[in-house]
């Protein structure tokens, strides 16, 4: 991946367009030619936007999952989707036909991701497993366990976050109680495990329940560090009433390196590398409204843009400095100017 010379300026970035979809979208992908945005979520249907149309609008196809769609990967003309219906589907977006379907987890499929060589598809689900699939035929190659099914207080945990390292050798997974595991893809063994404690609030005194968890994970460009996103200490666990929070970890040493926290009250559901491959971009929402957070990974606090609505996922097109996001209310396109440039190199789209 080549660094982009002109990084996004958080102060200059603005909402360029939004495409309304009722409810909440969780999964986001862009077609290989960069022309079409795909989103899916609450209604289980596939929504798409042709970005090159004179007047782009949302097209909705029939539901292709029986429950919420949680995550998308675009690969070679096919949309791969994970869903709370426990399935992963391979779908031809042109026809809407499902070309392959597998039961992926005994529980909600929370996230899927593709290795850079596109040979392996990885998924996490509420059976607390990390599963590795042959992306060509959908056969399961490995099923890794290591996350506890219950939180330290004895309640059901959940798997929230997944990332694949740039060299494809490692997988990171994060859960509700703040535990992070890093796995060696070739052996299926845990190579590191730590707890990012500050992302999990259990309030025993006032409300006797929890909120938070590791909601987003992202490797650094060299694969040596791991970014974690979520929410800091929550004062009222009825809601996302805590500071939006990012952390960089040296995952091999299980050592936290840096904290980026802002008083904006929100949970950061998804984090990706910025255009300079050093900074982080994260999206979310909460009591303070929607949040799009830019952090250069230093002592300087993150800068927060306030998008319309609570966002669930973000994707960066470094060629034209566009950020595509989905969440409550549909799609959003963010950038620094209003004139889209030529076709981006699809290989440089960071997959979600």
């Amino acid at each position: 991946m080549n660094p982009v010379k002109t990084p996004l300026d958080p102060k200059a970035i603005k909402l360029l367009a939004n495409y309304d979809v009722p409810g909440i979208l969780y999964g986001l992908a862009v077609s290989g030619d960069g022309k079409t945005l795909f989103g899916a979520g609450q209604d289980g249907a596939l929504h798409s936007v042709d970005l090159r149309a004179d007047k782009p609008k949302v097209t909705k196809q029939n539901p292709f999952h029986d429950n919420y769609v949680s995550s998308f990967v675009w690969h070679d003309g096919i949309l791969i989707s994970g869903s709370y219906d426990r399935h992963i589907h391979w779908t031809d977006p042109k026809t809407g036909n499902c070309v392959r379907s597998i039961i992926a987890h005994d529980g909600w499929v929370r996230k899927i991701a593709m290795t850079p060589d596109a040979k392996h598809l990885v998924s996490i689900g509420d059976d607390m497993r990390v599963n590795v699939w042959d992306s060509r035929d959908g056969k399961r190659l490995a099923s890794m366990t290591g996350h506890e099914a219950r939180t330290p207080e004895g309640y059901l945990s959940a798997m929230y976050a997944l990332a694949v390292s740039p060299d494809g050798r490692h997988i990171a997974s994060g859960d509700r109680a703040g535990f992070v595991c890093v796995w060696d893809l070739s052996t299926g063994k845990t190579v590191s495990a730590f707890r990012a404690t500050d992302f999990y609030t259990f309030d025993a005194q006032k409300r006797a329940r929890a909120i938070g968890g590791v909601r987003g994970l992202c490797f650094s460009a060299d694969g040596n560090r791991l970014a974690v996103s979520g929410i800091g200490a929550v004062t009222n666990v009825d809601g996302f009433v805590g500071p939006c929070r990012l952390e960089w970890w040296d995952w091999k040493a299980a050592k936290r390196l840096m904290i980026g926290q802002d008083k904006h009250l929100a949970i950061l559901n998804h984090v990706i590398l910025g255009t300079d491959e050093k900074s982080l971009i994260a999206v979310g929402g909460g009591d303070g409204g929607g949040a799009m957070v830019f952090w250069n990974g230093t002592d300087a606090p993150p800068q927060v843009a306030k998008p319309k609505g609570h966002l669930q996922a973000v994707l960066l097109n470094p060629d034209d400095n566009r950020l595509y996001a989905v969440g409550h209310g549909g799609f959003q396109v963010w950038g620094m100017d209003e004139s889209p440039k030529g076709n981006p190199d699809p290989r440089r789209l960071l997959p979600f």
């Binding site: 209604d43 006032k206 969440g327």
Partner: protein
Amino acid sequence: MRWCGSPEHRIHRRSFLGGTLAGLVSTVNLGGIGLSAAEPTIAPLRQRGKQVIFIWLAGGSSQFETWDPKPGRDTGGPFRTIGTSIPGYHVCELMPNIASRMKHIAVVRSLNTVQSEHEQAADLVSIGRPKEAALDYPEIGVVMSKELAVPDSELPDYVSFFTTSEGRRRPRVGFLGANHSPLLLEKSIRPEDLDPPPGMSEIRHHSREDLRALLSDRFARQQAGSEIVRGYNSAYQKIRGLMRSDHLFNLEKEPLTVRERYGRSPFGQQCLLARRLIEARVPVVKIARGFWDSHHDNFESHRELVPDFDHVFSVLIDDLAARGLLESTLVMVLSEFGRTPVINQDVGRDHFAAAWSVAMAGAGIRGGTIYGQTDADGRAVKDGEANASDLAATIYQAVGIDPRSEYQAGLRPVPLAKEDARVIKEILR
């Protein structure tokens, strides 16, 4: 019943007695309400042998994620449903244990209680009628503790747990007076200050009580008919009884297998203690399980809360049934309201009182009955609408208390349930 009236509702003996005295005095001095305030004006209400456990899901649990799921609808959320032991009735998949025990349980799915602010809604559901400025009504549990009281019992007539602080409620005794205040357990499940003062032997403690009783009897003979002296004596009897019953609050006395069955969550521990108290003939026990106010992250929070509720509630029902107590014990699952059909931008559900559900089991209840219906999206009641007054009347009726019975509050006869309340007979035996 005469019980703690101290502001802190703690069982420190000195404050206990002071509170009792204050309670008695207040009974005779409440504006316009005479000594007979707590007395029925028609046939005696008192029921023998019936007991009640209230489970208060504080903050407002979601009917969609429990008793009235709407899978596949825009409002339904991501949880699927599972069949129950009642043909055609499905509950949220988070309640597999309850699903298999529906023969014991009745559900009202058609409550429209209108009020959707926590405090006011909690008052409404707990009292069974809107509050009035002119008259302070007691909560249903307080009325029941009075009417179901075991004569000469040394145990409290009402024990209320609310160990979390958010939305904490102390049952309103209203015009029944402070001597009907429940024993409140807010810091732990064991009453505080039950131990004799440090250094005081049990023998000396008893000697003191004997001396107090002697002096008290002498004083009572001189002041025949004194309500206050009777109140003091009753209060001492209760506190002595509570001290002798300290073992009831010690879960270590339960076999390990039973403790493990209830689980280690605070809710599990409290339900186990509730069963112990019911077994010891405490008439009314209330457990508050907080906090269900899921404005954000509704599905994740219900994924945490509902399985715990499903497990513990099922164990409690089984345990009561196995001990032959379920027939005589009404178990009520209540909340101040339900949650909105609309899923908000933070994946939450907000307050909603227009169409929500409660459940009940045990004494007087026709298990396996599903009453009322909401529309396809759960936005409104479609059939069998009931309000808070109807619910209160039904609760009274379930344990054999006639909801039309009246207390006399000063010159005003006050029916237990609101005049226009309708008992939901369909769920009663």
